[in-house]
Symmetry: C2
Subunit: 329 residues, 2 copies
């Protein structure tokens, strides 16, 4: 099978590695921001973010998008959410009528001016239907590529075809038709994982009870937000919600961002510092996006999200704000 991966970053290179493991003919296309990554892999070095060599995978630079997509039987969209519209606009004329498995996490602004799912906003924006399948679930790229047992949930009408192409012994794929629930979970978990990380900065490592309380409250609020978007509770209680929040809160950049904010440092300063070190803190904008989404959809009973937004975007002191956190009964 001919598989084209759009986006040669951390997750794109991991998904290319998985597709290659399954015996596919894999092309990895890099955006105009990915040249340095492909310079390294083309020189036979490990991928700078994934830290693994990409053996047997053809790499193509950004001007070769048409060639990358020609004859593709499966496209994997691994551009981050900010890049989704620019990349898919360029890809649209060459995009074959095949499933597009998206590992992008986030919400975008629709033409109506409200936050909405990538699988809805991108087709509206590029003026062409896209057979999006959303890939959710707890899947750190490096671990997928290293064959650690991983559970992904693919959502959408073409989910089963994608699962058949990519699933296997180490990457277990379940499928659902609840693309609304799956995408919302992927977008929301970055926001909530940041909040769980704040406790580490505030109390130190002995804040297990508080972290677990916020984890529980996060799942509760994610369910309300998912249901408001037409998704289902079962998606939140499965790999897309509980699983992905677990992996995201356990470590990584969003947790690290939260920890520094919990130590009392201004969020804007921490985000700038991490960006300068090449670390994208998705949780920082994800909190504003999720908070905006909750208000647009009229979901008012989200006290943890409200508290996180107050801390990260309105300068509230983390200690008093979290001490006063209301938990749902």
């Amino acid at each position: 099978m001919r598989v084209t991966v759009l986006g040669a970053g951390y997750m794109g290179s991991a998904m290319a590695t998985v597709a290659r493991m399954r015996g596919h003919d894999v092309r990895l296309w890099g955006t105009w921001l990915d040249d340095a990554l492909l310079d390294a892999t083309d020189a036979g070095l490990p991928h700078p973010r994934l830290r693994l060599k990409l053996d047997g995978i053809a790499t193509l630079r950004s001007p070769r998008l048409e060639e990358a997509l020609r004859g593709a039987e499966l496209v994997i969209h691994a551009v981050n959410s900010d890049g989704a519209i620019p990349v898919m606009t360029k890809a649209a004329p060459f995009l074959p009528d095949v499933p597009v498995l998206s590992v992008s996490k986030g919400l975008l602004v629709s033409k109506a001016g409200t936050m909405d799912r990538i699988d809805l906003v991108v087709p509206e924006s590029i003026g062409k239907p896209v057979r999006f399948v959303h890939a959710a679930g707890p899947a750190k790229a490096i671990e997928i590529a290293r064959r650690v047992l991983t559970w992904m949930a693919f959502a959408g009408p073409d989910a089963k075809a994608c699962a058949l192409a990519l699933g296997g012994d180490h990457l277990r794929v379940t499928t659902t038709d609840d693309i609304a629930g799956a995408e919302l979970c992927s977008a929301l978990k970055n926001a909530y994982a940041t909040g769980i990380g704040i406790w580490d900065g505030l109390v130190g490592k002995d804040a297990h009870n508080a972290r677990a309380a916020c984890f529980t409250q996060a799942i509760h609020e994610m369910r309300l937000l998912v249901e408001a978007a037409g998704g289902r509770a079962e998606t939140v209680h499965g790999a897309a919600g509980v699983g992905d929040l677990h992996v995201t809160a356990a470590g990584g950049r969003n947790r690290a961002f939260g920890e520094r904010v919990g130590q009392g440092r201004p969020a804007r300063e921490v985000a700038a510092e991490m960006l300068a070190a090449g670390e994208l803190t998705e949780g920082y904008p994800a909190i504003a996006t999720a908070w905006r989404f909750s208000r647009e959809r009229g979901v008012t009973d989200v006290p943890l999200l409200e508290t996180l937004n107050a801390i990260v975007w309105e300068g509230a002191a983390p200690g008093p704000a979290l001490a006063g956190l209301r938990l749902s009964t």
Copy 2:
């Protein structure tokens, strides 16, 4: 309010501390196994397990059980599950008709010879009704006592009275009538947390995907087991289930036990070694108990529990057993 805590171990001394913080008249009664702990606190030293001083709390040794219970308006049962019947049998003649808040986690063998809830087996065994309220949720004792934000879920007809007596700024208590669900969650999470820990021994720290996959699968299986016992899914998806599994899997003895088993050491040997070091590994027997419970109730779709039982009680090698783990769709 006069509060009597039965059991002067880690959790009993923490709950006594909470009751004292709330301004109650607190008596902490130690079982015949707790003398060494009370020797320390009576000498003005910190409690050896809790590592905090128990100021303002009256301590009573095991022969003074009648005196300990006299005039109690709330009893907190903090004896471990193995001790529940012996202690409650001795307490029965002196037990006033007041709520008994139980923090014990586990299942006991009923007169019918099957595993069942403590709140059902104890009254049957001692021949007297007990107004049990079960305390579930993510609550490490040391953190409750240190005023870290904690969410507990009290379950039973008298849950609200117990919440009123003990809840406050740092200990947030929600209430439910689903005592079946809450008790099952408390009993099952020790088994599943052990399983999540096995990955740390098997793969090392970069097994976040596998840990999260098992966390998700555990919640799924706990829901099936809770529903088979007459409990509700919402309890599993709240503080009693998701929250308590989170805190238990994040650290502590059950996770440590799992990690050593994951390194390939026989479970029996690890349990003996930890016991010799004074560490009770509840997860070890909890796996056998949960597995037996699942068979007695006819719940067959619990592949993670089956795998854990095979590893811990039947000597299956952790690597191959977990590599073949079936995840629920």
